[in-house]
Subunit: 251 residues, 4 copies
Amino acid sequence: MEILKFQGWSFSEIFHVNEADANLALLPRDIKAEDAVMLSDMVTTGFHGAELANIKLGDTVCVIGIGPVGLMSVAGANHLGAGRIFAVGSRKHCCDIAMEYGATDIINYKNGDIVEQILKATDGKGVDKVVIAGGDVHTFAQAVKMIKPGSDIGNVNYLGEGDNIDIPRSEWGVGMGHKHIHGGLTPGGRVRMEKLASLISTGKLDTSKLITHRFEGLEKVEDALMLMKNKPADLIKPVVRIHYDDEDTLH
Amino acid sequence: MEILKFQGWSFSEIFHVNEADANLALLPRDIKAEDAVMLSDMVTTGFHGAELANIKLGDTVCVIGIGPVGLMSVAGANHLGAGRIFAVGSRKHCCDIAMEYGATDIINYKNGDIVEQILKATDGKGVDKVVIAGGDVHTFAQAVKMIKPGSDIGNVNYLGEGDNIDIPRSEWGVGMGHKHIHGGLTPGGRVRMEKLASLISTGKLDTSKLITHRFEGLEKVEDALMLMKNKPADLIKPVVRIHYDDEDTLH
Amino acid sequence: MEILKFQGWSFSEIFHVNEADANLALLPRDIKAEDAVMLSDMVTTGFHGAELANIKLGDTVCVIGIGPVGLMSVAGANHLGAGRIFAVGSRKHCCDIAMEYGATDIINYKNGDIVEQILKATDGKGVDKVVIAGGDVHTFAQAVKMIKPGSDIGNVNYLGEGDNIDIPRSEWGVGMGHKHIHGGLTPGGRVRMEKLASLISTGKLDTSKLITHRFEGLEKVEDALMLMKNKPADLIKPVVRIHYDDEDTLH
Amino acid sequence: MEILKFQGWSFSEIFHVNEADANLALLPRDIKAEDAVMLSDMVTTGFHGAELANIKLGDTVCVIGIGPVGLMSVAGANHLGAGRIFAVGSRKHCCDIAMEYGATDIINYKNGDIVEQILKATDGKGVDKVVIAGGDVHTFAQAVKMIKPGSDIGNVNYLGEGDNIDIPRSEWGVGMGHKHIHGGLTPGGRVRMEKLASLISTGKLDTSKLITHRFEGLEKVEDALMLMKNKPADLIKPVVRIHYDDEDTLH
C-alpha cells in the first residue's frame, strides 16, 4: 500500500492534517522517503527564492547563502534557466555541492567584500537577479549594490534580528532603478508537492546530496537537532528515519 | 497641418529627437497642447506608480503624496480598478482634486500619524497596495506598516536625500511577508503616449485639472519655474505656452 | 444583524455552503441585496472577460455581446484602463447602458460586418484587445480578424453548439502573430466578492443599471425565468426578492 | 580581434544591420561560431515555444515536433523547470537527441493517436503544457485534447497551409476551460542573444548536438539547402562555414 507524503513533517508518529485533498500528496513509489522529506521544506523554499527573484532564461544570478535552502535556490535558479550562477558561501562541502546543483562560480566572503568580488567578476556590470537565502538584515544592501537596474531580489531568509533592513538610496537608483525587492514564504500544498516531486522522479533533481547525516528512530530527533545547533563543517541536513511495524507502507 | 507631440519637452523652440518613430507621437486634434503636455511627464509617471503597485480590481489603495504626480497616481489607481483610495496630503486644493480623480478618503498627515489613520479607517486590516508619490526615504516604513501581507508598494518619487531607505524588519514579515517593494522611472515612447492620449480623447481623463497657472511666451519660463520653487498653496502645475508664427500648427 | 452574501445564489431559502471562510462574504450595509446579487455572476464573469483579455492602460477594446455579462465586460474594460471601447450589440437599451458603462462607440451588427466596421473606425489598425461575451463559435474568427498582432482575446461566453471554433490561419499570423486566445470561467470566492463589492460601495460601479425587472417572492422565480427565456427588448436582468420574516437581516 | 555575432544570418559575406547596439551581440570567445549560429534561430525560437507555453517548475509538458526547433523547445522546457517531458517524433536520431535535451518519454505518432498515447501515459490526466513545434493546422486540436484545464499551448510552428485552425469546442471546455492558446515569433536582439549565449558558455546548453552536417565555403550553401530539402533520416541541421582571409577574426 502506498502511503501519503505530508506537506509538513512533525516530530510525532500520528498527527492531524486539515484539508487532505489540498495538503497531502501521494509519494511516488520511485522516490525515497528521506529524499522526499526535502521537498516540503528545503526544495520548495529554496526554489521559491528563485521564483521571487523572477529568474529568466540566461540570467546571471547570485545566490547569497548556501546552506540547504540556499543550495536549493541554486538548483531552483538553474531549473528556471539561469546561466551564470554565483554562489556565496565558505564551507567547502556546501561549495562543492553548489557547483553540482548548477553554480558556475563560488564567491567566498572570507576573501573580501562580496559586492566587489561580484562586480569584478562581471566587468562591473553586476548580476541580473539575486536570491537571498542567508545572511541578515544587512544582506539586502549588498544585493542592491551588486544588481543591475531592472532586476529582482528574492528573499526567503528568516530575518531574526535588527530593527530595519537598510536599502541604500543611491544604489537603489534614488527610487527609480527598477530594482524590485521581494521576500516571502514558500507556497505549499498538494499540487506544488506533486510538481516538485516530479523533478526527483524524472532524475532532474537529486535531493540526496543535501543529506549528510542519517539517524534511525524517533528517539534520535534530539541528536539530530543538536547536530543542527552545533553545525559541524560537513553538515548540510540530517534526516531521522522513523520505523513503522508495517514497514512496506514506506516502500 | 498636425504637429507632433514630443515625449520630452524642453525649454527651446527647436530640438533634436532620436528615433522619431519610437519617440514621437501624433497629437490628436481633439487634445489641447497644454493638456497633452501633462501626458509625457505627470500622467505617465503617476500612472506608472499605480502600475508598479500592481493594482487589481477592487483593491484598497493608499497614495502617499498628491502633488501633480501623486494626483495622477490617484487617477491611475482608479483607471486600474481600485475601489477605496486613500489620498495622503494636506493642501485643500490638491485634496479636492484628488477626490475628483477617484480618491474616496483624504488622510491629512497634520491630523496625526498616517499609518494609524489608515489602520483605524480599515478596521486594522490595512490597505492592499501603496503608491508612493511624495515624502522621503522614511515614507517606505510607513508604507510597509500600513499594507497587508501579499501586497505591493510602488514608488515613483525621486529620493534626493538620505543614506538609506529603512524597511522595518518586523512589519516586513521578517522577510517573509510578500510585501513587494518596487521603485522605477516611467516608461515612455510613442505607443505609451498614444495609449495615454486616448484616455483624454475619450473623455476618461481630464488633465486640465492639473493646470492651475498659465503663462504665454518662452520668456515666461523663468516665472513659471519660480512659481514651482515657491509653491503657493493653490499651485498644482503651471504651463507655459510658446507662440509660433504658423499658429495653426498648434491647432 | 448583518447577513451574509453568498457566492452562488440558489432557488431555495436554505442551502449549504462548503468552506464558509473561503466562499461567503459579508454584504456591506451600504449595498442593496439586489445590486449585490449581480456581483457573484454578472460582474465577476464580465470583469473576468476583461481580465482574460489582459487589458492595459489606454487600450482600444472591442466587447462583442452586450447582454448583462457583456455590459459588465464593458465596465470591466473601463475599470482596467481601456481608452476607446467598441461595444457590439443591437438592442437600444443595452447600447445606451453600454455607453454609460464606458463604451465610446456602438457597433451594430445589423449595419454590416462588424470586422469591417471596426477596421474602418480604426483606420485599418484594428483593436488592441477583444472581449467575447456573446455570439457563438464563429465569433472568434471575427475577433482574430479585428485585432492587432501582439494582443489578447478573452472569452467568457458559454459555447453551446458547434464542433469547432475556427481560427483563421492567415489572420492569426500563420501561427506567429502573438494573438493570444483565452477562455475561462470566472474566479469566485470571498476575497473576490469583497473586492468587487468595494467598487459598488465606493460608487464606482452601479449594478442597478443591469436590473430592468423586479419581482417579489420566491414564487415569482418561474415568471422571472420565463422572462429570461422570452427576452423582451427592454430586458437586461430580472431580480426576484425573497422575503424573510426577520426582514432586518436583509437590511 | 573579436568579431560580432549577428542576430540574423545571411548568404553573403557583407551585409548591413540597423541599430547595431540593439541587434548585434559580441560572440563570447568560448563559443564556436557554428554553435553560436544556432542561437539566433533554433535556440531562441524553440525556447520561445516553451516561454509561450508558460512552463513552470515541475510541469508535465508535451513537445510536438522534434526537428531542430522542437529539440530546442524540449531543451527550453527543461531549462524552464519542466519535470516529465513527452517528445512527439519518429526519427530515431531526433528521438535520441530529445532524450539528451531533457525529454523523459518519446511518443511516436506511428504507434497510434498521440492524444491517446499521452492520456494513457498520464493516467488520463493529460499534460500541463504543450509546445507545438511541428505539424500543421490540425495539431492544435490534438494539443487541446491532451491538455488539462488551466493550461497553456505555445506554438512556434509556421502554419503554411489550410484555411483554419480548428479548436474542438467541447475539449476546449466550451469556452471556459482556461486552456490558453499562444502563437508567436521569437523575440531577438542583443540582450536576448547574450542571455542565451551564456547558457552555452556555462556548459548548460550544447547546441552542437543539432549539427549533423558540416560544409566549408560559401559555395556550399546550395548543397546545404538541398540537404534541408531532401531531409535524410539523420539530418537535424547543416552548417556552412564561410572562410575569411583574416581567419583569427573568427577565433
